[in-house]
């Protein structure tokens, strides 16, 4: 296990290097000249040249990349063209909101998927199963931004009482009830696609596990069906779901960009989306870099968890 973790960490180094190169190239591809933005009203050639020298923009690309990496490692991802705030500071301020939304979506997605997936597998070909199977395909096809708008329409303008407000954010520490009320609609919006994927996997894994001898033996011993499912089948059926969580953390990160925009949720996704039309590329690229590195790390954690959950997996001997 230790060798596997070390090997994965070593393999992450060239990948992380390529990720930073990719983000750096995207920053340089962006239209506009940062020197012009920082120059303000005085755009004389001498001032522009001085700013370019100060920012290192007159250096060759490889030198600029090394300087950018040196600053990034020390936590300096540049400054917003609009607000002049440090990019990492802006991300750090908004990260808790994104984490809260992502965690709520993940918990909701897994809880519903496991519950309905068990029901669907146990009552195969019943109405519940057919509806669940239909949902698995519909859920991944339904655009999340349209779902968000439908939920806003229903809960804010059709159903009286405004049980769940259509947008905005109240910090959890300030007012937990209001925070949770405003969390429900964006969390459901963000969770739906991954819930469909999880549901399909839980159902499929359970049906696969039901055919194994140890489940037949458990039933033959006269154990109650609930005991067979919960104590024997579910544990093994959920192992593949763990690997799906790793992939879905990526889906939740990318979904946050859209969901936070619809519901005015002040996370890093909305930070990047509002920075795009104003050409605030340091912010966009900072968020993209943080998203990519977070996704890489979460994938590693999930892979290690998978190996720990399933003793049959031996990453030290397998060619993983």
């Amino acid at each position: 296990m230790t060798r596997y973790i070390l090997r994965r960490l070593l393999l992450m180094i060239p990948v992380a290097f390529l990720v930073t190169v990719g983000v750096f190239v995207l920053v340089r591809l962006a239209p506009g000249d940062p020197a012009l933005t920082f120059a303000g009203e005085d755009k004389s050639p001498a001032v522009i040249a001085a700013i370019r020298e100060e920012l290192g923009l007159d250096q060759p690309m490889p030198v600029q990349y090394v300087a950018w990496i040196e600053r990034a490692v020390q936590g300096d991802l540049g400054r917003s063209f609009q607000t002049k705030q440090r990019v990492l500071e802006a991300i750090w301020e908004r990260l808790p909101a994104t984490l809260e939304l992502g965690a709520a979506a993940l918990i909701f997605s897994i809880t519903v998927a496991v519950a309905v997936g068990i029901l669907s597998a146990v009552k195969r070909n019943s109405v519940v199963d057919l509806l669940a199977t239909g949902f698995t395909l519909a859920g991944v096809s339904f655009p999340s931004f349209f779902l968000g708008i439908v939920l806003i329409l229903l809960f804010a303008f059709v159903i009286p009482g405004k049980i769940f407000p259509p947008g905005g954010y109240v910090p959890l520490a300030q007012d937990p009830v209001e925070n949770l009320r405003r969390l429900v609609l964006p969390a459901i919006t963000l969770a739906t696609a991954s819930m469909a994927v999880n549901l399909r996997q839980v159902r499929s894994s359970l049906l696969d596990v039901f055919g194994h001898e140890y489940v037949r033996t458990a039933r033959a011993k006269g154990l109650r069906e609930r005991t067979v499912i919960v104590r024997h089948a579910l544990k093994n059926a959920l192992i593949p779901v763990v690997t799906l969580i790793g992939i879905q953390i990526g889906a939740i990160i990318e979904g946050a960009f859209i969901t936070e925009t619809i519901f005015f949720w002040p996370g890093i996704g909305r930070l990047a989306v509002t920075a795009i039309p104003s050409g605030d590329y340091p912010v966009v690229q900072g968020v993209v870099l943080v998203s990519a590195l977070s996704f890489m790390f979460s994938t590693l954690v999930v892979d290690v968890l998978y190996a720990w959950l399933d003793p049959r997996i031996s990453y030290d001997t397998a060619g993983a």
Binding site: I152, E254, G255, Y281, V284
Partner: protein
């Protein structure tokens, strides 16, 4: 024969029919759409669905149904072109990496791993934001995002095929690597690639709609499903639901059609991928 095929593969027939309907609508939009999708007519603004405007009108009096039909041209063309970009580049890299192995394989797979390190839509947003909000850049961005899946799939298929006897025999009689890859290996991996292409088109349509929703796709007044849904948000409080319902259901049915067809193709073409459930 059609009835026989429909009995054996009803899901493929249904999915295929849905896809064909959308392709026909996109192709014949100038003939099928009842109105000009960008012509402003303020006298008819914000009309609910009626006999003359089946999906109502927007705040500029433009027919929502016509915008949905014309919008299918953009969504489906982005879907097809971006999948083609991913297919051509990804399959080429996968064939090379799988057959040649060694340093080329190592380098290609590290680049692919780097692309996969980005959440797909985040990468598409970053590329489109960098290149500029235009439909061509959205195609390039989504195409780049599609490359890793094809590369990995093709490489995996090549690795499983290249040790087989007919490949060894071809090598023995002196066939060039290019001939072996093109004439012997590639035909054996097409089934999985067809399934992937169909499912990738579904993702591409959804991704294009998402980029348009964020303002990174086709620019106004051109009809675009995602952009029209974004625009409709300001009229939610007035319960002008039809402005978002039309394009929203269009995205859903188009994506559903390709996903449904892809699932059916997977079950029919590749027994190893067939699920036990």
């Amino acid at each position: 024969m059609m009835r026989y095929f429909a009995r054996r593969n009803p899901r493929m027939v249904v999915g295929g029919a849905m896809v064909l309907i959308w392709l026909a609508l996109a192709l014949f939009a100038p003939v099928v759409a009842p109105y000009d999708p960008i012509k402003v007519n303020v006298l008819d603004q914000l009309q609910p669905p009626s006999a003359s405007h089946w999906l109502g009108t927007d705040d500029l009096g433009r027919d929502v149904l016509s915008r949905v039909i014309w919008g299918s041209r953009i969504s489906l063309s982005v879907g097809v072109i971006s999948v083609s970009i991913g297919f051509i580049v990804g399959v080429t890299l996968g064939l090379g990496a799988g057959y040649l192995g060694g340093m080329f394989d190592l380098l290609v797979m590290r680049v692919i791993d780097a692309l996969l390190a980005f959440p797909a839509l985040v990468l598409a947003i970053a590329i489109t934001a960098a290149l500029g909000p235009q439909i061509q850049n959205a195609m390039i961005a989504i195409g780049i995002v599609a490359i890793p899946a094809y590369t990995r799939l093709t490489r995996g298929q090549v690795l499983s095929v290249r040790a087989r006897e007919f490949i060894v025999a071809a090598r023995t009689i002196g066939a060039s690597p290019l001939r072996i890859v093109v004439r012997h290996i590639f035909p054996n991996v097409t089934n999985a690639l067809v399934v992937q292409a169909t499912l990738a088109t579904a993702f591409a349509i959804l991704a294009e709609a998402a980029l348009s929703f964020l303002g990174l796709g086709p620019q106004p007044p051109n009809p675009s499903w995602g952009q029209d849904i974004n625009y409709s948000q300001r009229y939610l409080a007035n319960l002008k639901w039809w402005m978002s319902a039309g394009p929203g259901l269009a995205i859903f049915t188009a994506v559903f059609a390709f996903n449904f067809l892809g699932d059916a193709l997977r079950d029919a073409l590749d027994p190893r991928l067939r699920r036990s459930a």
